[in-house]
């Protein structure tokens, strides 16, 4: 895919004190703001590196569906979907704005009567198997599933060979 050659992403860092025309470095150099600037700098290193928007979360980001059965299905799916921003967390666990919007997306679709499988297929078509913590058995995951069997087979083969030698000639042990 051609996209890779053009890729040079600068990660989005935490937001500045926006709403003013000052650039952050001007603020940081201004003695009046030095304490605050230091605090901001400290925060910059303390929190994950996603930028801050100033919109309230989507309605279903932090609000459950009224129907407990639907909410249970949504929750199960959200725990299986991977957050794209703070990778390594599910969207159910993440507080990133995009994760909130994905929860809203999942709950809205469930509320509209879509099945969790349909939603998962829809997301995988866009983000690939990466987006799910339950990837299907395919060429990429085959080693993961078959690896233990493979190692068991190798171990069995080695043990078998050893026992056979033991039976056959005793001189080998000397």
């Amino acid at each position: 895919m051609g996209g890779r050659t053009l890729t040079a992403r600068i990660p989005a860092k935490a937001g500045t004190q926006s709403g003013t025309k000052r650039r952050w470095f001007n603020v940081a150099l201004d003695p009046r703001f030095r304490g605050g600037a230091l605090l901001c700098l400290a925060l910059l290193f303390a929190i994950p590196s996603f930028a801050q928007d100033r919109l309230p979360p989507a309605p279903y980001a932090y609000q459950q569906l009224n129907d407990p059965a639907k909410e249970a299905r949504a929750k199960a799916l959200m725990e299986e979907l991977r957050c794209l921003v703070c990778q390594g967390q599910s969207i159910a666990d993440s507080d990133a704005p995009l994760a909130g919007d994905m929860r809203h997306e999942v709950r809205s679709k469930i509320a509209a009567g879509e099945s969790p499988d349909e939603i998962k297929t829809w997301l995988v078509a866009r983000y690939g198997n990466w987006v799910t913590y339950d990837p299907p058995f395919d060429a990429a995951t085959a080693l993961l599933w078959l690896g233990p069997l493979l190692f068991l087979a190798i171990g069995g083969w080695l043990a078998f060979g050893r026992f056979r030698r033991g039976e056959g000639d005793v001189e080998d042990k000397a």
């Binding site: 053009l6 928007d53 995009l98």
Partner: protein, 176 residues
């Protein structure tokens, strides 16, 4: 005993495994999640204007025969500021650009455009990232190359660099 080397096979396998683990620890995995929604039609959407004075964006408008860029950005996204001059250069080279503003407020978008310029023909407001998710986009800025039929041909993740501008102009020309 001729097959003594067989005894070293488990050790070799463990060595390979540890090598793999150490390699991954030292070079962390690629964390850019590329969109799989490529060579597919633009998802259907109808976004309201992101700010006064610039029209909103409908997916049907992206199939008007003119190849174009759709830039996914946000006023709160710091790298998007660094990308602004390159978008201006693309516009100057005759590449039409539409924008999708993610989780943004009209006044912030207006402020962003007044500070960093407005290369956009239209900007749709994606308040709940729904179009972003439908595009398989995982962050800002991202840019999609759309052909004249409204088919997404390529995704560029992250800031467009100055040296990429001629390449992108050529690709858009080639789609005409």
């Amino acid at each position: 005993m001729k097959n003594r080397w067989v005894l070293f096979v488990p050790l070799a396998i463990m060595g390979l495994l540890f090598g793999a683990f150490i390699y991954r620890l030292v070079t962390p995995a690629e964390t850019l999640i590329q969109s799989q929604w490529i060579d597919k039609p633009m998802p259907l959407f109808d976004l309201p204007p992101a700010t006064a004075g610039v029209p909103g964006l409908k997916s049907s408008q992206l199939a008007d025969g003119r190849p174009r860029l759709v830039n996914v950005f946000a006023s709160w996204c710091i790298p998007c500021r660094a990308e602004a001059p390159q978008l201006e250069a693309l516009k100057a080279a005759g590449v039409p650009i539409d924008g999708i503003a993610i989780r943004d407020r009209p006044e912030d978008v207006a402020q962003f455009l007044s500070e960093y310029g407005n290369p956009f023909d239209r900007i749709g407001a994606d308040m709940q990232s729904s179009v972003q998710i439908a595009l398989g986009s995982s962050g800002v800025p991202e840019t999609f190359l759309i052909d004249g039929k409204g088919i997404i041909r390529e995704q560029i993740q992250g800031v467009i660099l100055a040296e990429q501008v001629p390449e992108i102009v050529a690709k858009i020309e080639a789609m005409k």
